[in-house]
Symmetry: C2
Subunit: 338 residues, 2 copies
Amino acid sequence: MPPTNRQVLLASRPTGEPSEANFRIVEAPLPEPGDGQVLVRHHYLSLDPYMRGRMNEGKSYAAAQPLDAVMLGGTVGEVVASRSPALAVGDHVVGMGGWQLYSVATPARGEVRKLDTSRVPLSAYLGPVGMPGVTAWYGLTKIIAPKPGETVVVSAASGAVGGVVGQLAKRRGARAVGIAGGPDKCRHVVEELGFDACVDYKAHPNVDALAAALREACPGGIDGDFENVGGVVLDAVLRRANAFARVALCGMIAGYNGAPIPLAAPQLLLINRMKVEGFIISEHMGEWPAALAELGELVARGELRYHETIADGLDAAPAAFLGMLRGAHLGKQLVRLI
Amino acid sequence: MPPTNRQVLLASRPTGEPSEANFRIVEAPLPEPGDGQVLVRHHYLSLDPYMRGRMNEGKSYAAAQPLDAVMLGGTVGEVVASRSPALAVGDHVVGMGGWQLYSVATPARGEVRKLDTSRVPLSAYLGPVGMPGVTAWYGLTKIIAPKPGETVVVSAASGAVGGVVGQLAKRRGARAVGIAGGPDKCRHVVEELGFDACVDYKAHPNVDALAAALREACPGGIDGDFENVGGVVLDAVLRRANAFARVALCGMIAGYNGAPIPLAAPQLLLINRMKVEGFIISEHMGEWPAALAELGELVARGELRYHETIADGLDAAPAAFLGMLRGAHLGKQLVRLI
């Protein structure tokens, strides 16, 4: 029996918190590569918070995910059939293959990029040497641009992006302080990733308590904030911000299910002459080569630590995704497909 | 009888809205210029919204105004006694003379700057060719940096800063849309200052109504916002912001008396990949010469329109200041002292 494809589709848009009922898993014929195309068998699927935004209809920074179509997502895999001179069977590639076992791609259009797995593990190209790593690199180096001795705070510090932010900040001579949910994650952030401190937001469930904990973790105040969460977390960070502090606004997961997340005191942005900049990394492709060069070298040398949480099999993808949105994972959430 | 000085002191800090009881007017001996100093007789005193912030204790972008001290403020006047080689009796100068009839200043320390009143009226150096003008110039050209065809919105558009913002935006090929309180101010902004449109926030007293009015006034959306007000006004502007819009955060007068001014939907900053930057113009002294050169030339040629609301006599300063905070003025609020 020839292999068939298997896909996760978006079946319906969530109202509030999404559930497995929003997804549908189907069998599909193996796609045929056309002229100039390759067939890729996916080894790992990347699960990322931005996908939650795409499940909604309406205005977001990413276009809405179409209903009854394969969920969009980053993948790494190997070429199993090639009608392109650019890639041979057996080559490893990264692309946006989606939540499925196989995809076809056109190398000449940049839909897949060949990977060197001799020094960097394949899965790392979905994490620290992929979109999450470049996101961290861009927000830290291009928006926050920390000076030695400054303090950089990152929320969701135990996640795929946050972990890289803090380590890059440390390498640039800054104090790195994480915010994460629960003692285990905070221990990981400090002991495994080498942050200077980590504040457990679950132990400080209101803005006053969280601001007090940040005061202790950041005795010199906060000069840079890499924001992945928003809501009370951002309110507390702003209370401790120094003059001329910079906020790289990368995500506001506190509001992904539709809860209002007002900013309590925007006047602090003026009082402290702050800069806030929202960004989406796919709009800064020109920065990827420099970012990937630094990140790849650091991972190859073992100087950039990262953790993976791996779910097995395509059918596990929806539950793993929902768990990630609730913070059940540590580091990069992946689905292993072979 | 030799002339004496007369001063307005801060008598007490306001709780909520300030009143005349927060000020005290006193007579004082005429100050004596020391070696290297000049005695300046003030012709005009500048009243500015930032002074409200300084009346409070605690953290603001400006240091608190000391109690029982002369209210700080910009002044233009003439040298009436000189012990400095840099200035002669009769020279016109601008400085921070404060709410009083006379002050001493040291030219070598940059405390006063000599003015050319042959092409620009003396009072304009407190308005379009002074701090308000430079504030407008900096926020517009350095933060918003409009491209031809873009739309720039400015709140408090009929004020000393806002009026300049819109005219500079027009000169750079942008569409200029004001937000102001009441039909008379809006008419002034469009007919006298040449804005393309002006939205009356008093006629649209909630965020839905104001956003709808902005949609009509800004059919192409909003690319730049020069924010002087905050609160509902900023919420409405964000609803109509385009991707990559820039906010120059100059003032948030909606919150000056202590009312909370939460930002309803900060996620719009991320969705639209916006940039928000707070600034205070005294921290960008390097930009003043270029700004003043452009502004002075435009005023001299009659190509930059401005309006002055003038109160007469030092004793009228507190009431004029309180009126300005309530929006009773049009353009630049001055106190004429001679």
